[in-house]
Symmetry: C2
Subunit: 276 residues, 2 copies
DNA sequence: GAGCCTAATACCCGGTGGGTATCAGAGCTT
DNA sequence: AAGCTCTGATACCCACCGGGTATTAGGCTC
C-alpha cells in the first residue's frame, strides 16, 4: 500500500522533467500508454494528484514538486547503495575523491600523499561534487565553503584563504592595491559571469552565461569577464592578467566532505589533520 | 542492469537483520524459496557475495554490511518521499515536530507560539528523532547537541545551558555546591545508567540498562542511579531529589534540525530567531 | 469542421514473482 | 553409523502485472 518501487519513481521523475508523457516514455524506452497507466496508479496509491494534465502536456502540482525532489534523493540513495556495495566487494577498491577541475594542485597532492591507500581522483564540473557524493560515485569530495552546497555531509576543513579578482593587466583596476566587491560588481565592461541555478535556468544580469570552467576560462582569457576566486588558484593567472585582492569578499574554506556514516570518515579526518 | 527495486532492498534488509532466510521470509509475508531466489539474483546482479550461507543461518560479508547500511538509508528516503508527498497533497497539513519525551515544556511552548501555522507534536524515545526525520514521519526535530546524531541535517540553535546532576536529597553529594564529572562517575552506590547503542547492545559497566525515559525516571525516583541533565529539565526534579551543578560537563545546546532542502527551513529559521 | 497533438482506454501477451513440493548437506542424537 | 532435524537451494507451476499495439477522446489550430 505504501511502498513504492524505484521503477515508479524513475517513471515519475522522467515525466516531471519532460512534462510530456510521450517524450518521457521515449526517454525511458517504453511506450506511452504503460507510462500513463503507471503514473495514474502512482497517484492512486499515494492518494494525491501529482500532475495537472493539459491539452499540451502536463504541469506539476505542489505535491508533484515535493515528490520530484524527494524521488531524486531517494533514487540517488539507491544508486549509491549499488555503487558502494559493488565497490565494497572489490578487493582492491580505491577511495574515490571527487573535485572540480581547477582546484589547487598543491593541496590535492599533499592530500593524496597523506592518504596511504590508493585514491582515484574524479574530476567534475563546478557544483557537481555533491551529486557525485550523494549517488555513490565518489566517497569523499573536495569542496569550498561558502560556494558549494554542503547540506547533508560531514566535513573537515583543510585551508582558509581570501579571494582575489582576476582582471586583464591593461584594465584600470589592475593597478589598484585592492578592490571591494561593490567595485568589481559595478565594472561595466567586465560583467561577472552567470552560472546556472540548480534547475538549469540563469539569473538575470549583464554577464555572459557559462556552464563549465573551461567556458569561463575562455571568457576570462578573452578579457570579456572578470573573476573573483581564492588567492591560491594560480591556474587562472596567465601573464596578461593580474590578481587584485578583494578586501571584503568572504573567506573561502577548502574542505573535505563525505556522506555521514561513511566508513571513510576516520581515514579522511586523520589525513586532513596530517596534511595541515 | 544496475537499478534495484525497493522490494529487493527490503528483502535483503530483512535477511540481513534476521540472518535467517526462514524467519526473514515469515517477517516479509512470503515463502522462503522465493526469498532465497531473490537474494541470489540480487547477488548476481550486483556481482558481489552478500551473505555467507551456513548450516545454521547466514552471516554478512563486508559488502553485505555496506549494503545493509546503504539500503536502510535508501528505504528511508523512499518512505520519506511517500510521506512528504502525501502530506503535501493534504490542504491543511500540519507541520510535524518530533521531540523526545522530557524536553523543556517552556521552550516547546515558546516555539509553538512562534510558529504561526498549526504544528503537530510527535513524541519519541531518546535518539529516535533522527530516524523520524529521515523517513519523513516528521518535518523538524527538537534535538540536543552533543547527544543526538545530527549528521545530515541542517540545524538552528535555540538555547545553550550547563548540566546538573540529579541525586537523592539524602545522599552526601547533595550537600555539595558543585561536582565534577569524575566525581559523579565514581559514585559506587549510584552508577550511571547505560543506554543501548544503535545496534541494540549495551556498553559494559555497573549501571542499570535502560531503553526509555520512563524506565530511567523510575530508577532515579527509586534512588538507584544518578543522572546528569541540562539544568532546565525541571521535570526530573522531585522534592526528594536535588540538582547539583556539574562544572565540567559539556554545555548542552537545544536546537531544531531538519532535512537539508526541506521547504520548512525558512519558516523554522525565522521562528527560531523570534523565540529567543 | 478537418487535422493535429495530447493523454487515456481497451485488450492481449509474456516474463517473473510467488506458491508448494522436494532436495541436499551439515550437525545432533541415540 | 543411521536417522532426525534444521538449514538454504532447486524444480516446477500458476497467476498477476508490466509492457506492447490499436484505438478512443478531447481540445487546439487553421
Amino acid at each position: 500500500m505504501d511502498d513504492l518501487e524505484t521503477r515508479e519513481l524513475r517513471y515519475f521523475v522522467a515525466v516531471a522533467e519532460e512534462l510530456h508523457f510521450g517524450r518521457a516514455a521515449e526517454r525511458l524506452g517504453i511506450a506511452q500508454p504503460p507510462l500513463s497507466r503507471a503514473i495514474t496508479q502512482l497517484e492512486r496509491r499515494l492518494g494525491v494528484r501529482l500532475l495537472d494534465r493539459d491539452r499540451r502536456g502536463a504541469a506539476l502540482t505542489d505535491a508533484g514538486r515535493v515528490l520530484l525532489r524527494e524521488a531524486r534523493t531517494a533514487l540517488d540513495a539507491v544508486s549509491a547503495a549499488v555503487r558502494r556495495t559493488r565497490r565494497a566487494g572489490d578487493p582492491e577498491r580505491p577511495l574515490v575523491l571527487v573535485t572540480k577541475a581547477g582546484a589547487s594542485h598543491e593541496l590535492l597532492r599533499a592530500l593524496l600523499d597523506a592518504l596511504a591507500d590508493p585514491v582515484e581522483v574524479l574530476l567534475c564540473e563546478v557544483g557537481e561534487q555533491a551529486h557525485r557524493l550523494r549517488d555513490g560515485q565518489a566517497d569523499v569530495a573536495l569542496m569550498h565553503r561558502p560556494f558549494d552546497d554542503l547540506a547533508g555531509f560531514d566535513t573537515a576543513d583543510l585551508h582558509t584563504e581570501s579571494q582575489v579578482a582576476i582582471v586583464p593587466a591593461a584594465h584600470p583596476l589592475a593597478a589598484r592595491e585592492s578592490v571591494t566587491l561593490a567595485e568589481v560588481s559595478a565594472v561595466p565592461d567586465l560583467p561577472i559571469a552567470r552560472w546556472p541555478r540548480l534547475d538549469g535556468t540563469y539569473p538575470d544580469g549583464p554577464g555572459p552565461e557559462v556552464r563549465t570552467q573551461s567556458q569561463l576560462a575562455q571568457l576570462v582569457a578573452l578579457g570579456r569577464t572578470l573573476l573573483v576566486i581564492p588567492a591560491s588558484s594560480r591556474a587562472w593567472q596567465w601573464p596578461e592578467h593580474v590578481a587584485v585582492p578583494v578586501v571584503d569578499a568572504p573567506e573561502v574554506t577548502t574542505l573535505l566532505a563525505w556522506p555521514p556514516g561513511s566508513p571513510v570518515a576516520s581515514l579522511v579526518r586523520s589525513a586532513a589533520k596530517l596534511s595541515f
